[in-house]
Symmetry: C2
Subunit: 355 residues, 2 copies
Amino acid sequence: MKILVLPGDGIGNEVTAQAVKALRAVTANGPGFEMTEGLIGDAALAVHGDPLPEATLEAARGADAILFGAAGTYESDLLPPEKRGGHGLLRLRKSLDLYANYRPVTAFPELIGASTLRRDVIEGVDLMVLRELTGDIYFGTPRGVHRDDRTGERVGINTMRYTESEIRRVGHAAFRAARLRRRKVCSVDKANVLETMALWREVMTEVGRDYPDVELTHLYVDAASMHLIRRPRDFDVIVTGNIFGDILSDAAAMLTGSLGMLPSASLGEGGRGLYEPVHGSAPDIAGRDLANPLASIMSSALMLRLSFGMEAEAAAVETAVRHVLAEGYRTADIAEPGSRQVGTEEMGDAVAAAI
Amino acid sequence: MKILVLPGDGIGNEVTAQAVKALRAVTANGPGFEMTEGLIGDAALAVHGDPLPEATLEAARGADAILFGAAGTYESDLLPPEKRGGHGLLRLRKSLDLYANYRPVTAFPELIGASTLRRDVIEGVDLMVLRELTGDIYFGTPRGVHRDDRTGERVGINTMRYTESEIRRVGHAAFRAARLRRRKVCSVDKANVLETMALWREVMTEVGRDYPDVELTHLYVDAASMHLIRRPRDFDVIVTGNIFGDILSDAAAMLTGSLGMLPSASLGEGGRGLYEPVHGSAPDIAGRDLANPLASIMSSALMLRLSFGMEAEAAAVETAVRHVLAEGYRTADIAEPGSRQVGTEEMGDAVAAAI
Ligand SMILES: CC(C)[C@H](C(=O)O)[C@@H](O)C(=O)O
Ligand SMILES: CC(C)[C@H](C(=O)O)[C@@H](O)C(=O)O
């Protein structure tokens, strides 16, 4: 059971260290994992001139699961695209064909106050955004900026592209996920304007026929962005393309107000997966023991469940997180009057101890 | 002063009729407008087999302003794209080169309770989304679904495309609008992934140099969708492309909880504009005197201001709306215990009387 740990940039380092602690704690009495560390993002760029060095990609191919922190910082945003930290992550997802990105969004009862939504609206929210991760306008060609011969001005082009089989496989993933939940899939597209998304809707409808026990609905992406804010509790599984998923999953993550709590898993056909907190590298608070490690720790729980089939251990990690929250432990981002404010390290220790 | 009235489909009819009343009331003592009516959307399809008949397009070309209701219903979603109500609207925007879509989002103090956001978060929100309306993936070619020769499977393609000049003109519109407001522009893109959006950011930055008195910031679209929910008060003018604007402007509209109150204006180079409520055709409540006409009425105020330079009359309409709200008049969508619930028609009459 090989785990590649890629802390990456910014707070990625601090939070990943706490998730590693949790993984060690929960397997303390068993054979344990073989964990190695690798470089990605700006950290890799600094050493190898590439945000996804060949060595990292090879190690990832050889691993059963990858624990990822965050990649990219404000500074690398000024570099050419292929040098940016985020591109290391994009290439890793694509190279391993990790096409299904699962982002469960749960309103923790203890943290409802951190939401900017009204308590009565956010209470009980339990949804999952399933974002397609290896297609769409992220990877479609032709792309780039060229100069128009006639007018002499620059023109930017990107290509949204989906094949039937790309849509079908993420569709099946959505319905399978819904069967483990409340059996509702909402497919989000822009079929009224984009032919690619009309194909998306058609294929989702076809796939849905194989799952008569799951309810399938469709929403246009603009309507979905409204419904998320208006009636978040209505949703169970939301499945959508890469770019719409990028936007909607971040909106959904912000609803509960506890971005620092939200894990994600990216899976392909086998059991190999990449696990990462939904939050980014947050360079402004990096290295100051301020970051919330719970999203990374919850990501390691998803790893235990989805890549290693260790349901009991996954549940133990999740229970430990709920336990420390109930005990009043809070990092700065979710602190409230009366709570016990702790740093990244202390929160990680508390969870490991609770495990 | 010629106004073309295009009620369109669903509640478009009822709400537009109330805006016409307001326009008549506010110009009762002047020369008045020459108003004609035309067909668009499903209503036009039924008569002419086309959601934007040539006669309507001609009338629009000859008008100084267009008062639009809504186009498309659930039924027309099942038709081929070019027959759908919404496509009539897309073609009208494109044919008249109405590239700048202004959507002011204001939290009405009387209606804060209708928001799903916490009162302390939504109070004082006063932002404007400026969405580019004639470019992007909405109109880019190549587009369509074809069969891959090699695999035999269907592939959908759409093209995001922006030229420098398309970005520049909407950029100038954003900075000009910010000068009439709080002098802040936030440009939203996905420059870290899409070359088209990197060009967008570059051109916006260039345009910004002409407006040293206006603060320019940039956000990735995923971050923007979070910030809108987290700190909506931070925003003044948000400028973005057509597809991101479609999603973000609907999210922004939903924040205040009073979608039935929000107007929009679409302008090109001259003074000619198209004015429409942000809400859609809502076929489920159409014809039942339930719809809120205030968004359409507020749209007519924007028309008075932006196409006809009639600031006093525009303000009179807006003041009348605030007056009826203060008096407790509410349509069903914004009703609260203790308010005076009225239908579409009565609300329209109350506003006209207050004018
Ligand atoms: C860093 C960036 C390239 C990435 C994306 O757009 O996919 C991020 O926003 C995410 O959602 O993981
Ligand atoms: C009806 C549809 C084509 C349209 C759009 O996507 O532009 C609508 O959502 C809007 O925002 O006006």
